[in-house]
């Protein structure tokens, strides 16, 4: 196997706070190839966004301890200088942020914000960059881009702002695009349009996409591979089909069961995962999910609360759980409703 386009190895992101060290990401590895989409799922505080900010090198280096390896197309990113990163950001790798209203500068025109990325990385003239901005706005489906290019973000609707954000992220034809819950704040119709847009652009340019979300429906729509995060660690990974239809970790199963299914019986109540997300300041011992896990007692010797389960990955598929394969087959089948995929 050749070297992957993006390779993250044993990434650890720790923040020092007044109360102690927050282990936001604690040993995460994954690969991503060009033209593929990796969906990262997990609840708030599971380390999804932190991971991706680390790829772009956007953490405050003085307050953040970063360990491990992030290699993008042969370039090591964690040890790279700020100058090197500046050249890559917005150019080879770029990011679509969650809240477009807060993430676009209220003080600058949409067109200017798109154009300045282009000018910075290509050295284009003002005029060229402006034309490029108009072209990008047209491509993401903004009507009358020639006039809207001079609008400010507050003059755009929510969906248009998100499109503008996407236009800005794509202006230099990035090879890696990180989308951090780009559709969370949008209504479903606009959400579907944005997803289609991303898929089209990926087909056109072969962009590698990391799609962060807590919405499994969105994952089912866009991802090739899925990585489920819990408490700063990967608990399960595999192809979309593997993860969504044959979940191999109690947490993934819990996520799936807390979602309504279109083809399942209507009168089956949804079952939420009990408890609340773990503290990253003082994470649970052993498996971080064990205090909320329905099957923790089934494992002999209370292993779940003492020993961290290893993530055994074979052929891109794996999960970190102490349950044996037979136990899972037996326990999960009682639990799982039929799933659409």
């Amino acid at each position: 196997m050749s070297t992957p386009f993006l390779s993250v190895r044993d990434l650890r992101v720790h923040f020092s706070t007044e109360d102690g060290i927050v282990k936001a990401v604690d040993g995460l590895s994954f690969d991503l190839e060009k033209g593929k989409t990796l969906g990262i799922v997990g609840e708030s505080g599971s380390g999804k966004s932190v991971t991706n900010l680390a790829i772009l090198g956007l953490h405050n280096r003085e307050r953040t301890a970063l360990e491990g390896e992030i290699v993008l197309d042969g370039q090591e990113l964690l040890t790279a200088s700020e100058r090197t990163l500046e050249k890559l950001r917005g150019n080879k790798m770029s990011m679509i942020f969650q809240d477009a209203l807060a993430s676009l500068s209220p003080y600058h025109k949409i067109g200017v914000q798109i154009a300045e990325t282009y000018r910075k990385h290509t050295g284009a003239s003002k005029k060229e960059a402006r034309d490029r901005a108009i072209e990008m706005l047209r491509r993401v489906g903004i009507p009358q881009p020639e006039t809207r290019v001079d609008d400010y973000p507050h003059q755009f609707s929510g969906g248009m702002r998100q499109r503008a954000m996407i236009a800005m992220a794509l202006v230099c034809d990035p090879e890696l695009l990180i989308a951090d819950e780009p559709t969370t704040a949008l209504d479903v119709t606009v959400q579907a349009q944005i997803m289609d847009l991303l898929k089209d652009l990926q087909q056109e340019f072969g962009t590698a996409i990391i799609f962060i979300t807590h919405d499994l429906g969105v994952i089912a729509d866009i991802a090739d591979d899925v990585l489920v995060m819990y408490g700063g660690r990967c608990v399960e990974r595999g192809t979309k089909k593997q993860v969504l239809s044959t979940a191999d970790h109690p947490y993934t199963l819990g996520l799936l069961n807390s979602m309504p299914s279109l083809d399942g019986p209507v009168d089956v109540p949804l079952s939420p995962i009990p408890g609340s997300p773990p503290s990253l300041l003082n994470p649970p011992s052993g498996c971080r999910f064990h205090p909320r896990c329905a099957f923790a007692e089934k494992v002999a010797g209370g292993l779940c609360s003492t020993e961290r389960p290893t993530l055994e990955v074979a052929d891109g598929r794996g999960s970190a759980c102490h349950l044996t394969a037979e136990q899972k087959r037996e326990l999960f089948s009682d639990f799982a409703a039929t799933r659409h995929n």
């Binding site: 772009l56 956007l58 917005g90 990011m95 942020f97 807060a102 500068s105």
Partner: protein, 327 residues
């Protein structure tokens, strides 16, 4: 923008009218009779009546106020002085001169003091605030923050006198503060005369700007759009000035405008401390002398400065932040 200016100018005129009326009636219910003061030690009832007539204060109050307003817009005649051109803010009994002339005469000192110290405190305040924000939590931040706390608790009449004593009288480093030279007739002497008051006045204001700039920048530096700007690959300098500072400057400019407005109304304590003869000194003398027309005049100038700068601030704010709509 044009409609905004028209609307605000009309509003400002109304406000000034109200202020003038309140001030006028307030001063005229004062227990001391200005005619009695002007009349002198030996004052017969006949002389008193004559003085009253000459001063134009033998009419009922509303009529007097009307005359005053007429004077402001069209000028008026005084029996004891002659014609006073519009805008005639009144006639000072004590100085035997029209109020407008006295104010115009003293205004250069006030402007020099206000603008000069504004440059000093804005540059120093914003500069240290920026350093403190960038070095958040580090030694430099703590030094800047404590210095600003100390600065804001200092008083001009102490710092000013100490500074004058050592810097001018003892060590002869700076000229003694004076307003003998205007900017146009001898810029060097003007600069020398004002440099000490500028810095002393600035000490007190600087602290506000340091704290304001620091807290604003700390806030904007953690804004999502600043992170986006970094994610676009822009350099740290560009991100700081084009994004973080742009977001931080609105409130700072607002405070600057209001401070300038109040400084142009006369820095009473500063002028007294340094023996400068600006609007502040005129106000103090007018109060001491019970010089009502003079008091009314300086009140109107101070109020006018604040009202005008309020409009300027709103207009500038709209230029900084496109989300603010002027209407």
């Amino acid at each position: 923008m044009f409609r905004f200016l028209v609307r605000r100018t009309i509003g400002a005129a109304v406000i000034l009218l109200i202020i003038s009326a309140i001030t006028f009636f307030l001063f005229y219910v004062a227990p001391r009779d200005p005619a009695r003061v002007a009349c002198g030690k030996v004052c017969t009832p006949q002389t008193l009546a004559l003085v009253k007539h000459n001063l134009g204060i033998d009419d009922p109050l509303p009529v007097q106020y009307w005359h005053w307003l007429e004077g402001v817009f069209m000028g008026r005649d005084y029996a004891s002085y002659g014609h006073c051109n519009a805008p005639c803010l009144g006639y000072s009994f004590i100085n035997r001169e029209p109020v407008t002339g006295i104010i115009l005469d003293r205004f250069p000192t006030t402007i020099s003091l206000a603008l000069g110290s504004a440059v000093v405190f804005f540059v120093f305040g914003v500069g240290t605030g920026m350093i403190a924000a960038v070095k958040q939590g580090k030694a430099l931040d703590k030094i800047a923050s404590s210095a600003s706390l100390i600065g804001s608790s200092l008083q001009i009449y102490i710092v000013g006198i100490v500074a004058m004593f050592y810097l001018s009288d003892e060590w002869h480093l700076l000229p003694r503060p004076n307003d003998n030279s205007g900017f146009t007739d001898n810029a060097g002497a003007w600069f020398g005369g004002f440099i000490l008051p500028w810095f002393v006045l600035a000490i007190i204001f600087t602290a506000n700007y340091t704290r304001m700039t620091r807290s604003q920048l700390v806030e904007t530096l953690s804004e999502d759009y600043v992170r986006t700007a970094r994610a676009k690959g822009l350099s740290g300098r560009t991100v700081f000035f084009r994004f973080a500072w742009r977001g931080a400057m609105g409130p700072i400019v607002t405070i600057l405008g209001l401070d300038l407005g109040s400084l142009l109304g006369g820095a009473v304590i500063t002028e007294q401390t340094f023996g400068l003869h600006g609007i502040g000194a005129v106000s103090v003398k007018a109060v001491k002398d019970m010089d009502l027309p003079m008091l009314l005049g300086v009140t109107m100038v101070a109020a006018g400065a604040i009202v005008v700068f309020n409009i300027v601030v709103d207009a500038v704010y709209a230029l900084i932040d496109p989300r603010v709509r002027l209407a």
